[in-house]
């Protein structure tokens, strides 16, 4: 709320340059004084001063006792929040006298911690009976400013010391000078400079000093006390010299802050994962400090890793269960090339047992045997890939290839049920970054669902369409079946864990599909086609070329 300044009329002391003045709102004060009756209560001073609110102040008051946010923050606040307590008795007496005398100007010499030869002048405002002006005049003690600064420093130290975040105060002025020298000699790329002059990191570790730290920092660093932390910063970066370089580069490039994660060796020999935040000094740098905050994220990283492991185990269990479900199909896929091999080998023996063996034919059939054997081996390889315990990876993949490989697992399922499987794969799709096995798992899962939906509906000559497309930023995969579609009330919950409409299902398939796609930065959605059948569509962000 913008406020007009209430200008006091103090005759010769109207000069804002020397006087500090307040405008008091005393609208509640008269009632307080009337309530005293014959004799003043013991706490009359607090009652009077406490009834006054601040109507306005000048800059001198703001400088002497004001808050960081300044005049605006003071207006409307109780006077006791800012007025120095040592002057309250004098002030209460002045206000009481002024109100009793009906607006006379009053001047009184007072003792003050802030001024020598101090006078207080009280003046009523003709225009507004609820406003009193108080001017405080005198020579300002230098001491008061000194105390104010010291008190503010003390507050800062208290704050810093008791914060639950590990904080280190750093004096990096010495390295600042080194940097200035480097800039003067034309160096702009600190990383390259350090490659040629690796000793600079050691120098920085030696001349950059921890000047203060808080209790939490000592605790985190496994130090006996804060004193152990005071000195060169080298202990912070002992386990992560590369992090030290990144912190140095950020400062060299004039950034205001830098956040990083690194390994930290504690004084008692533990190795922690920490998040480190460095705030660099604002210019003029010699008047400011660098602050480093540390957060132990070892537990978080460990939990993250455990969670990732659990998810990997979980999806592997689902894959193995899926392989079990597809055992007949898989056996068929392996049996086909084996059957061709057996027949080809027997035919070969027949050619060889002739009086004049037909070696040309034998060579041809032997090549086919090798080809079929490779095909069987590929299938076994894929099954092993599905069943193996392995870390998920992110490699560039052509989604069309992933689909081709996934189809091997379900081809027999669709053929044996006379389901027409139609693929419309987009040309030259952008690659996606992903885990081949996990994406195969999603596709196989969606395919099995489609096959089961068709089987459940008793559909003869069902149809499943697979489509991939490039939408620019993403690659989409769409599977549509000619089954009955998804009941409206199930559409919302279909990706939820343990949601199933199958008698023998446990409802993890689609939930897993969703978590796998989400882990790939993609989305998956379900809908019903207006002409019937369910549509599942997922999209994955295209890998940047």
């Amino acid at each position: 709320m913008p406020r007009e300044r209430l200008l006091p009329r103090f005759g010769d002391s109207r000069d804002e340059g020397t006087a500090a003045w307040w405008a008091f709102d005393i609208s509640a004060t008269r009632d307080v004084i009337e309530s005293f009756g014959e004799s003043k209560p013991e706490n009359w001073i607090e009652l009077i001063v406490g009834s006054i609110r601040i109507a306005d102040v000048n800059q001198n008051i703001v400088h002497l006792v004001g808050p960081y946010a300044g005049r605006e923050r003071m207006i409307g606040q109780p006077l006791i929040a800012y007025h120095p307590t040592e002057s309250w008795p004098m002030l209460a007496d002045l206000v009481m006298t002024a109100l009793a005398n009906g607006g006379t100007e009053l001047t009184r010499a007072v003792t003050s911690l802030a001024f020598t030869d101090c006078t207080m002048r009280l003046l009523a405002d003709d225009a507004n009976p609820d406003i009193l002006f108080l001017s405080v005049d005198g020579k300002v003690f230098e001491n008061r400013t000194f105390w104010t600064v010291r008190a503010s420093e003390q507050r800062y130290r208290n704050l810093l010391y008791h914060l639950p975040t590990a904080l280190l105060q750093i004096d990096a002025s010495a390295i600042g000078e080194v940097y200035q020298g480097l800039r003067r000699s034309g160096i702009t790329d600190l990383r390259r400079h350090v490659e040629e002059n690796p000793e600079l990191i050691a120098t920085a570790n030696r001349i950059v000093m921890v000047t203060d730290a808080n209790a939490r920092a000592a605790d985190l660093l496994g130090a006996a006390d804060v004193a152990q932390l005071i000195g060169p910063v080298c202990y912070l970066f002992e386990a992560s010299p590369e992090a030290a370089l990144r912190v140095m580069i950020a400062r060299f490039e004039g950034r205001r802050s830098h956040a990083d994660t690194m390994r930290l060796r504690t004084f008692d020999g533990r190795l922690l994962d920490v998040a480190i935040t460095v705030t660099y000094p604002m210019p003029p740098e010699r008047l400011d400090v660098t602050l480093i905050s540390l957060e132990d994220i070892s537990d978080r990283l460990r939990t993250d890793a455990q969670l990732r492991q659990l998810q990997a185990d979980y999806s592997r269990a689902a894959r193995i269960s899926m392989l079990g479900e597809l055992a007949t199909s898989i056996a068929h896929e392996v049996n086909q090339p084996l059957s061709a091999i057996v027949t080809n080998a027997e035919t070969n023996l027949r050619w060889l047992s002739r009086e004049v063996p037909n070696l040309e034919k034998v060579g041809q059939l032997t090549a086919r045997i090798a080809e079929s054997a490779r095909r069987a081996s590929d299938i076994v390889q894929r099954i092993r890939g599905m069943a193996a315990r392995r870390e998920p990876e992110r490699v560039p993949l052509d989604l069309n290839d992933v689909i081709d490989e996934a189809l091997i697992f379900v081809r027999h399922e669709t053929e044996s049920r006379s389901i027409a499987l139609v693929t419309k794969l987009g040309d030259r799709l952008p690659l996606v970054l992903g885990d081949r096995v996990q994406l195969q798992q999603v596709i196989v899962n969606l395919l099995i669902n489609a096959v089961q939906a068709l089987a459940l509906a008793g559909a003869t000559h069902g149809r499943i369409e697979l489509e991939t497309a490039d939408t620019g930023a993403a690659v989409t995969f769409t599977i549509r079946d000619s089954g009955p579609g998804i009941a409206q009330e199930h559409l919302e919950r279909i990706f939820g864990s343990f949601f199933t409409t199958k008698d023998d299902g446990i409802g993890i398939g689609l939930a897993l599909c969703q978590s796998i796609i989400a882990a790939h930065g993609g989305t998956i959605a379900v809908s019903n086609h207006p002409e019937g059948g369910a549509i599942f569509r997922f999209s994955l962000p295209a890998a940047k070329a």
């Binding site: 068929h332 057996v342 027949r350 053929e415």
Partner: protein, 132 residues
């Protein structure tokens, strides 16, 4: 009918189909191959084969349906099934439909050729009967 029997091989798997073709070739038997039942039924000579060796599971028209449609057309051609699935119910249906033999993949060459010869012999003698 000529003295050289003609055999149809129906299987959707290229490698299996070609392997069977070669086995018959080494024994001096002529054969034609088809990718599925529909392809054979659509062929002009569909009813001119002396024996059909077919897979059971195939897209669109499977082996059983192929046999059913041939019978419906009045063809008594012997049908030998080779399948990789071991479903007794399907086997029973095939045999009830007049299948000449039923094998599970991988099939032994002696067994298949034996069944084929028996089927062809039966066909030849059956075909020669009216003239005898």
């Amino acid at each position: 009918m000529s003295n050289l029997p003609l055999i149809a091989i129906v299987d959707d798997d290229d490698a299996v189909r070609e392997a069977l073709f070669d086995l018959l070739q080494v024994e001096g038997l002529s054969a034609r191959t088809f990718e599925n039942g529909a392809a054979l039924l659509g062929d002009a000579e569909a009813e001119g084969f002396d024996c059909i060796i077919t897979d059971v599971r195939m897209p669109e028209i499977d082996g059983l349906e192929l046999q059913r449609q041939l019978r419906a057309r009045g063809s008594a051609v012997p049908v030998i099934f080779i399948t990789s699935s071991v479903e007794d119910s399907t086997r029973a249906r095939a045999l009830l439909g007049g299948a000449a033999a039923w094998f599970t993949k991988p099939v032994a060459d002696e067994a298949l050729l034996g069944a084929l010869r028996a089927a062809l012999d039966g066909r030849m003698s059956a075909g020669a009967q009216p003239d005898d």
